[in-house]
């Protein structure tokens, strides 16, 4: 029976991982704490609602994050870019305001009521896997998120762009001195981070429904995951995301009153014992 919970925690965790990775990449590279992450997550789900009849679920799974990423990149070029040279607080304030603007825009455009979003026919229902029965759609999200994580790892570790991003994350000045322009890289990274949030939004829409404030809960969890994993750490976000998924699931099984607090308790313990997070390192730029 316990295995069922552990497997389920894994599925819950991978969604946290995707959202947290986006947050972590943006913070690591640009130094902006993206408070609008949850809003972009919701936006991804809303574009999916809008386009699902024309494109089908597979279509929106790709197109919706793409649209949101383009929107994000536009916002980066038009506004966010101007704030990099100033106080780091500016970026935080800007994205905080942006989150409210996006949420209200969603209310204006799509209304305050939620939208139904059905699980695709082929993925509806439960299948037996070994000793237990599990939801087909959740298995599908697990496969999706695992693919994304592997793809992202390959992109960051094995491609030229990935190398520049990783170098730029640690020492942007040195990268500039090597003659590599970082402006377009910043835009790309912001777009990529946002796309991950939007993708998680689309994936969770059939599970939790679509409504304007849907991103708030997961964004908070993503902040916790990034803190536990260590700021800017790729593997940290993954380990911490899965850990949070497990702890939430298992605490519901064994200690229901603590379900909501469990991830914060974990965060407090980690911060007390490893102030830089599980896999976080001392980065000069964050000190």
């Amino acid at each position: 029976m316990l295995w069922e919970y552990i497997a389920n925690g894994l599925v819950v965790g991978t969604l946290y991982v995707i959202v947290a990775l986006g947050l972590s990449i943006i913070f690591g590279m640009i130094g902006v704490i993206n408070f609008a992450h949850g809003a972009f997550y919701a936006l991804g789900a809303y574009f999916a609602v809008q386009l699902q009849h024309a494109l089908g679920f597979t279509g929106v799974l790709i197109i919706s994050p793409l649209i949101v990423a383009i929107l994000g990149m536009l916002i980066e070029v038009l506004f966010l870019r101007r704030l990099y040279s100033g106080d780091p607080l500016l970026g935080l304030l800007f994205t905080f305001g942006l989150a409210m603007v996006i949420e209200q825009l969603i209310r204006i455009i799509w209304g305050p009521s939620g939208y139904p979003f059905d699980i695709p026919k082929a993925l509806f229902g439960a299948v037996p896997i070994g000793p237990f029965i599990y939801s087909k759609y959740r298995l599908f999200t697990l496969i999706c998120t695992a693919t994304i994580i592997v793809g992202l790892w390959w992109f960051l570790e094995k491609t030229r762009y990935g190398t520049i991003i990783r170098a730029g994350t640690r020492d942007p000045e040195m990268v500039r001195m090597l003659g590599i322009g970082l402006n377009s890289i910043f835009t790309l990274v912001f777009g990529l981070g946002i796309a991950l949030a939007a993708l998680a939004g689309v994936l969770s829409a059939p599970l939790a429904g679509v409504q304007p404030a849907m991103g708030n809960e997961i964004a908070t969890a993503a902040f916790v995951v990034v803190t536990i994993g260590g700021l800017g750490s790729f593997w940290g976000a993954i380990v911490a995301g899965l850990l949070v998924g497990e702890i939430v699931t298992l605490s519901i099984r064994f200690w229901p009153p603590g379900a909501q607090a469990s991830m914060y308790i974990l965060m407090a313990i980690i911060l007390l014992t490893r102030p830089h997070g599980l896999l976080g390192e001392r980065w000069e730029k964050f000190e």
Binding site: M1, E4, Y5, N8, G9, V11, V12, R107, G111, P112, S113, G114, Y115, P116, F117, D118, I119, F124, G125, A126, I133, S135, Y137, R138, S204, L207, A208, G209, Q211, P212, A213, M214, N216, E217, I218, V248, T249, L250, I252, R253, P256, P257, A259, Q260
Partner: protein, 428 residues
């Protein structure tokens, strides 16, 4: 250079240049002049002073989806009243406020009473906000009709002389679904899932009492935080417990999100619940919903007046009214009728009229009236069951109405709270 700068600064000491100061003064003077001479003259000749009513309900946050329907209900009621020439020859004006949370609700209620000078308050969904507004209304002596909050205390230990409820109490909902469950012999082993705040706790208390009174067993209960996005661990737990019936004390988005994920895991157990909001069920979609539920009002009931109301509502908003739109529409009609019949807006007269046992059209096939000693609207509820998807004719046609409770010939008192439960109204 330096001198120039100083000069320009000194002229801006109060953020104004001399010219701007003069302009502003001129405008103020003009406004005052129009205000003192123009207003009484024009308003007396061309229009009678409007009667102002405050509508306060959550329009953002997790109850915002329902609040939007409440506003529609009020809009229709006021539009219809004004089309008939208003009340006492005066037009009706509604001041709308988003109550957000109990703290803000208190401030907004005060603002509506003190600044806007409304003669009555209508609205709310959150029980916590309703209790807070009730205090303000009682203190100010302004009638307040609660249209959406369920907690028993609002009509029980914390009832007020100036507070009336068109919304049913948790006891009424649970007794309605309970009577149906008794008839269909569903009392055996139950598992509860309960929303972890005042409303859920209250509902759990009442539903558990009902189960134990009828010889059933409680297999367990989980308190669930609001806005939980993922219910899979609870569903897994449920499967290991294996109850005969799952009883939900959830509300709002939480309820439909749960149902959706529950169906995803095959919805293995029969499901019923203490409270149901139609809007949330519409939003979840036909694939995601299941179970037997109590309903305050549903547009599919077989009552001619309800059908006419639905048609008028659909004409204006292109969708049918839900239970919340119904409640705010009815409350608005009731307060307007009270003003009409008492011939004025004296709050003591309004309260006396409302508690006098006078009957109102409530689109349920039999008239409703406020119970004298706790100000709860006496009315039947409905037990509805989610239809199979193939039988739904449109996106709103989701329920089969199983039964009206209490039945046509039974007393409406049978589902209501008992006098021992503690309501003592203040003297007027």
């Amino acid at each position: 250079m330096l001198k120039e700068k100083q000069e320009s600064e000194s002229s801006n000491l109060y953020g104004l240049t001399r010219r701007e100061w003069l302009k502003a003064t001129g405008k103020l003077g003009a406004a005052a002049a129009i205000g003192s001479f123009g207003k009484p003259l024009f308003s007396k000749v061309f229009a009678a002073e409007p009667i102002k009513i405050g509508h306060i309900t959550p329009r953002t946050g997790f109850l915002g989806q329902i609040g939007a329907y409440a506003v529609m209900g009020v809009q229709l009621a006021v539009e219809e009243a004004n089309a008939r020439g208003g009340v006492l020859g005066r037009p009706i004006e509604v001041v709308y406020e988003d109550s957000v949370n109990p703290g803000t609700a208190v401030q907004k209620a005060r603002k509506l009473i003190e600044k806007d000078k409304v003669v009555a308050l209508v609205g709310e969904i959150s029980s916590a906000s309703t209790l807070a507004i009730g205090e303000v209304a009682q203190e100010a002596g302004i009638p307040f009709i609660n249209t959406g909050a369920n907690s028993d205390e609002i009509r029980g230990t914390k009832c007020h002389r100036y507070v009336f409820s068109t919304e049913g109490s948790n006891t009424m909902y649970v007794n309605a679904i309970g009577q149906w469950l008794i008839k269909n012999q569903k009392f055996s082993k139950w598992y509860f899932l309960t929303a972890d705040y005042a409303f859920g706790h209250d509902l759990y208390r009442v539903s558990k009492k009902l189960l134990l009174e009828h010889g059933g067993t409680e297999l367990g209960n989980d308190m669930i935080p609001t806005n939980t996005p993922d219910y899979s661990p609870y569903i897994l737990k449920l499967k290991s417990v294996n109850p005969d019936l799952l009883f939900l004390n959830l509300a709002g988005v939480d309820q439909t999100t749960f149902l959706k994920q529950y169906k995803e895991f095959g919805a293995p157990f029969e499901t019923a619940g203490g409270v149901m909001d139609t809007v949330q069920f519409w939003a979840a979609g036909p694939d995601a919903i299941t179970g037997v539920w109590p309903s305050l009002w549903y547009h599919g009931i077989d009552v001619p007046a309800a059908k006419e109301f639905t048609a008028r509502f659909m004409k204006k908003f292109e969708k049918p009214p839900d239970n919340q739109a119904w409640s705010d529409y009815v409350a608005m009609q009731i307060i307007l009728q009270a003003i009409e019949k008492t011939g004025g807006t004296q709050s003591k007269d309004l309260v006396k009229f409302l508690e006098s046992g006078v009957e109102f059209e409530i689109y349920k096939g039999r008239p409703g009236k406020f119970r004298e000693w706790d100000h709860q609207l006496m009315q039947p509820l409905y037990v509805v069951k989610v239809k199979p998807k193939a039988q739904m004719k449109d996106p709103w046609d989701i329920f089969e109405v199983l039964e009206e409770i209490p039945g046509k010939n039974e007393s409406l008192e049978t589902i209501m709270m008992k006098k021992e439960e503690g309501c003592k109204l203040e003297p007027l």
